[in-house]
């Protein structure tokens, strides 16, 4: 199963919006084939694995697969039927698929045809598709708050001017973090102060994260990189309609509404965006903290102190403090910076 997990990880963000899945075929105590889900629309892991052996070899073998095989005909034929037809004797499943189109039905299909099915779960399996699992279990996106801050928790030392905090290693890492989320969100002040591109510049992605920006009116986005750069979809979450709403290119969408964290989570759910990375600023982070819609916290800490009136990473003068509890933090040194990663207590 460990081998199957390693296979699964080869998929990475290319499987969007499918989960990462790996499979290993074992016969007579020997691994005879390995496979994984390469990309959205491509072969599922089980099929990738089975196509690498002859029909005779597969008969009577045991298939280890990190996720329950699907039982529906979609972009590809149902895996459960493919497994049954191949004469696989025993399937070891890492976890059941929380997607309601499968949700135990793949397993039941195998059992109905006399295939032995057992389960071998664990943290490595669960973490393979943390966002996917969360999304289909809770019908809302996994939400990560991300900041780049000083030792004293500041993100900006001068109103209206961009502060560069993280060094190269941390910047590269935060691009990786983006690539593992389906949507990235910033607030209007971050848009006007930083004019960020909000793209993954490390590598070309077939499905780059969509860019969400909360604004009062869409006019504020005219000429900004998130609308002039065509490499990803942009959604302007506006409080009020504006003449500029219809002035943007086809990859830019304007939606008018009361964009609370819950409403933003709903929008993500409607579009199947399984994970949301909130990159700031201060007020937007505070709204998510106050709403309780937070599954993970990632902060890149630069060894500096700013003090005084510098802008805190999370603050809002109108929101009462709350207390969200997290599991113990994982720390990684990235050049001179630290990365702190914490998961909300009890999330699964």
């Amino acid at each position: 199963m460990q081998l199957a997990v390693q296979q699964a990880l080869r998929g990475g963000p290319a499987t969007y919006q499918n989960p990462q899945v790996g499979a290993v075929l074992v016969k007579g105590g020997r691994v005879i084939s390995q496979g994984y889900h390469h990309r959205f629309g491509g072969n599922h892991a089980e099929v990738d694995c089975l196509t690498k052996v002859s029909p005779q070899q597969a008969v009577g073998a045991t298939l280890y697969v990190t996720l329950e095989p699907c039982c529906h005909v979609g972009k590809t034929p149902a895996c459960s039927q493919r497994i049954i037809q191949a004469g696989i004797k025993h399937v070891v499943i890492g976890q059941l698929d929380p997607h309601k189109i499968v949700a135990g039905k793949g397993r039941d299909d195998l059992l109905a045809y006399g295939v032995e099915v057992t389960q071998e779960s664990g943290a490595a399996i669960e973490n393979l598709n943390r966002h996917y699992n969360w999304f289909y279990r809770h019908q809302r996106p996994w939400i990560t708050l991300k900041t780049a801050q000083t030792l004293d928790g500041k993100i900006n030392d001068q109103v209206g001017k961009r502060s560069r905090l993280s060094q190269e290693a941390a910047q590269r890492d935060s691009q990786q973090l983006r690539s593992h989320h389906h949507a990235i969100l910033v607030g209007e002040r971050t848009l006007t102060t930083d004019d960020p591109q909000l793209t993954v510049r490390l590598r070309a992605l077939a499905h780059p994260p969509v860019r969400l920006v909360t604004v009062n009116r869409s006019a504020v986005a005219v000429g900004k990189q998130i609308v002039t750069d065509p490499s990803a979809e942009t959604w302007l979450l506006a409080r009020q309609a504006d003449a500029a709403d219809s002035s943007f290119a086809a990859n830019v969408h304007v939606v008018v509404g009361d964009w609370t964290p819950a409403a933003i989570a709903d929008l993500c759910a409607q579009h199947g965006w399984q994970s949301l990375l909130v990159e700031g600023g201060s007020h937007l982070q505070a709204q998510f903290v106050a709403s309780g819609l937070v599954e993970a916290w990632v902060s890149y800490i630069s060894p500096q102190l700013w003090g005084g009136t510098a802008l805190p990473a999370v603050a809002d003068s109108k929101l009462a403090p709350t207390s969200l509890q997290f599991e113990p933090v994982t720390v990684t040194q990235l050049g001179a910076d630290l990365r702190l990663v914490a998961y909300r207590t009890g999330v699964a």
Copy 2:
């Protein structure tokens, strides 16, 4: 020399206000004695080491000592003369003593009497007496800012009420941190909100850190633990004189003045307090950051998010942000909490 460093560390805060010093006597390639400075007023390390061997054994031996031997007669006779009289052939010194009463004169004394002197320095030696070295090199205390904060850099979630953040391991560690400083400083709001004892409760110290509190008038301290608890000296740094000034017990001193960070550092220098631990609150930390009088930062981070109007660890609405740069941070897991320790870039 490594052995001598280990010996030195056995002294700990008991050597207050002397440095920690260790010594090892080697003859014929064998360690024949080890010693250290046990406590203020007690034998210096060299003497502790020499008294454990017979006069014959010491003759012709090599003495490793982490700090330059003293050459003045104080509470104990001059070590340089003791070494010369013992017939030591070679002294290996870890570092010269920055205290102006020694400052190379101990070494010169040995050389003048024909003792061979060499130096073996290094970070372990320097760190043995980081505060002592800093104090005598710069004539002002080593200043550490300490906070207990959330992931989003908050120290208090409700005005006027104490917030308990750190768990037991971090609390114990912060007591250790206190024991390694000569003075502890808090501001008036911390006094009135937390009513802290500001003592080292881990163990009995012959010279516990003095407690400094900046107040507007001393009346605010009446009945507070820092004045009712007699186990350490307390200095009330008041902006204005008050009728309460003469109402306190003998261990409580009231000094009236304009208590800027520089003025507080001067007070420490006058009293030979080599190190100052600033424990908050928010405004006091911000004043030290703005003044640049910061050598180290220690934060205990609790895995929580508070957001909203919770009080930031370092903030002041009237002080412009500055940028103090630190070396890469050292992180230690303490139960569910993290300890971050950072030293200012270039301090030595």
